[in-house]
Symmetry: C2
């Protein structure tokens, strides 16, 4: 298998020059062909997914994980639509981001180029297979996809459609390479192919990401957990705050931009907290609060420090009443991850103070945490949400899969004329 991994990876590396040289029209045509292929193969993909789901259910997989794994016609339509949306994005490759003529007459350009080979390491979600391949291709990159064993049949079915589209366009199908060996030692080997892999992006649970960060010798962009907070300021519009709360917690609890903690300013807590808990409970949410909120609502379970640090990914929320916005900020610094933080407030100065003080990839004022997503923020689709403050921070789109180089044109200038 070792030889097989290396052969697969080398074939992917060999496809880089071809893919990097494709012009925008060719890449768009390829992506539409991939979308067509996925749509045509709907029955095959859904059948493969049904087999994955049955096996996962038999293994006692959690509700949140099953939700991530599950495909249905609507979700597959969403995947196809996302591939087509990527095809409509501006091509980041070749973009001249700056142009400057220096005093000595040399012209300096900054030009975007592809990264090369991107290894995606992920767990349950089969949509990552199509999203990652499409975004990487639009940015001129090849991908090595190493998904979880739970989703193997789904991933291989999706990749088969994508590879057919590559062949039909006369392109090397190794540009999208799926590693079908789920063993950890094979992943470690992949993560140490420093001459082949330009970037590894792990997506999944904290355990997977820490494992990748520990073993990788190739560069890694980490996507740690999303412990997302809503802070309801004393000046908040309560109806608006309730809408953000219900949307953030209940519209899709199994994803990383779902809310996990609600912080409420003490001045608004007596009227807001009982309403918030009632609305959450109507939706079946298990609410766990601090002592102050327990005084405001009867039979409220106690929130532990572990609850405040948890990414529940389920219908559970931790609640705390805070004395001030600075207390909220301190709480978030202590327990939050660098993902998404939301403030509900009617005061602009308070909003700007929160924005500046919060260390987070995405900070929102009066908008749902569920918008923390590449598609919603205008990137087309996303390859993940970086919580590493390097290269990219927050949702990563096609442009995040390129880097700027320098192109200098002169007429014989030298630094020290002799």
């Amino acid at each position: 298998m070792t030889h097989s991994l290396h052969a697969y990876a080398l074939a992917c590396r060999d496809a880089v020059a071809t893919i990097a040289s494709l012009d925008t029209v060719a890449k768009r045509r390829l992506l539409h062909r991939m979308a067509d292929a996925l749509a045509a193969d709907e029955a095959l993909v859904l059948d493969a997914n049904t087999q994955d789901m049955k096996a996962a259910e038999a293994n006692g997989t959690s509700t949140a994980m099953l939700d991530r794994l599950r495909l249905d016609p609507k979700r597959l339509d969403g995947i196809v639509a996302a591939v087509r949306e990527v095809a409509t994005l501006p091509d980041p490759v070749g973009l001249v981001t700056r142009r400057d003529t220096r005093p000595n007459g040399i012209e300096v350009e900054r030009v975007r180029i592809p990264l090369g080979v991107i290894a995606m390491i992920y767990e349950a979600r089969p949509n990552v297979t199509a999203d990652a391949a499409a975004l990487c291709l639009m940015a001129g990159n090849c991908t090595i996809l190493r998904g979880g064993s739970d989703a193997m049949r789904s991933n291989l079915a999706i990749a088969a459609s994508l590879k057919r589209a590559l062949r039909e366009e006369g392109l090397p199908e190794a540009a999208v390479t799926v590693i079908d060996d789920p063993r950890r030692e094979t992943m470690v080997e992949l993560l140490q192919l420093t001459d082949i892999v330009d970037l590894a992006i792990p997506r999944g649970g904290e355990g997977l990401i820490r494992f990748v960060a520990e073993h990788a010798r190739v560069p890694v962009i980490k996507h740690y957990k999303g412990v997302c907070h809503l802070y309801v300021d004393s000046t908040a519009d309560q109806a608006l705050a309730l809408d953000l709360l219900i949307d953030g917690k209940t519209s899709r609890p199994g994803v990383c931009n779902a809310l996990e903690t609600l912080l409420v300013h003490k001045d608004i807590a007596p009227s807001f907290v009982p309403k918030a808990v009632a609305r959450l409970r109507e939706r079946g949410v298990d609410v766990r609060g601090d002592a102050t909120s327990q005084h405001l609502v009867a039979d409220l379970a106690e929130a532990t420090n572990d609850d405040y640090a948890a990414e529940f990914l389920d219908l559970v929320i931790a609640l705390r009443v805070v004395d001030s916005i600075d207390d909220a900020i301190t709480h978030i610094r202590r327990y939050g991850s660098d993902h998404t933080k939301v403030i509900a407030t009617r005061d602009t100065a308070t909003a700007e103070y929160f924005i500046r003080a919060i260390r987070s990839a995405v900070v929102m004022v009066n908008a749902s945490s569920r918008f923390s997503d590449g598609g919603e923020l205008g990137l087309g689709t996303e390859i993940g949400i970086s919580t590493t403050r390097l290269h990219a921070y927050g949702p990563m789109g096609a442009e995040s899969l390129t880097v700027e180089r320098f192109v200098v044109r002169g007429t014989g200038q030298v630094r020290h004329p002799s």
Copy 2:
């Protein structure tokens, strides 16, 4: 010492919020005060450097390393001027790089923020101490500086001036922190402080950089060696090509943007190679060539494969006659590092072909490789030259020490209205 390192690093981390919140005026004032302090302390710094130089000479340090270590009034003036030039740069922090209103009305901004704590790991050059501190500060970052033992006295003298300026501005002097323990185990410890260090930038020999890449658990931007090439095309202006060659090889051979290999198209070789070798020899350069060039010039030493892969950092150059531009590109792919490649040509299409085909952070047409430098390319000064195709590729200025985050402002939008 372990406790001391951790205490130093924590103090630096604690300075982040203060430094990140400085406005442009305050940062410029700080940098000018640092430049003033360095200029005022010239005698102290040069005296410390003299002691370092004497010790290094006694240790049998190479000419190239001594050149890197040496300060004199002119070079110190250059350091002071570089700090003042950083103060004139646009402040990258707070820059809104994109602003977009989504169909649902949320406003999405991309805003530049500092990275946080940057650890510089470097060897002989004491100017890195001032350059790195200044650039990091202009980008709102704090620095932990771990220089080589050869330059320790120089680095501490420079840092003392910088810290005095911080104190005079009422700012935490830990924002510039020098680690005075040269042991490797202390460096490893620093490189694994994942909760404190946001980025490590090693600058120095290949051994140091590989050591850092192997042991770091914090993100690293690698600055591998500069094996820079000049390719002289069949259409080149020969006088121009000779100027690029002499400037690239001899104006400062001990630096990473010096030329190490000359590739010459076979059609121009009979007239160009003898002139090139003669000019190089006039400047004392040891020229080593392939069989074809040995036919063109009597008593030319043979170039080995090791010579083609070498970063000589000295008055030595490897020479090869190639059959075509594609041969030149293949040679560069095999032996070059992702630093700087130059083509001399009068043909625009050839130039553009070279630009697209070459995998290198900086690619130049008819200009000296010695311009591959942050100052020369318009970044003010530089913190290094990235050969990693992630985050930054090529010379890194202040903007490379920031990252973009997302700021979203809404009026109560939710993703799934109930």
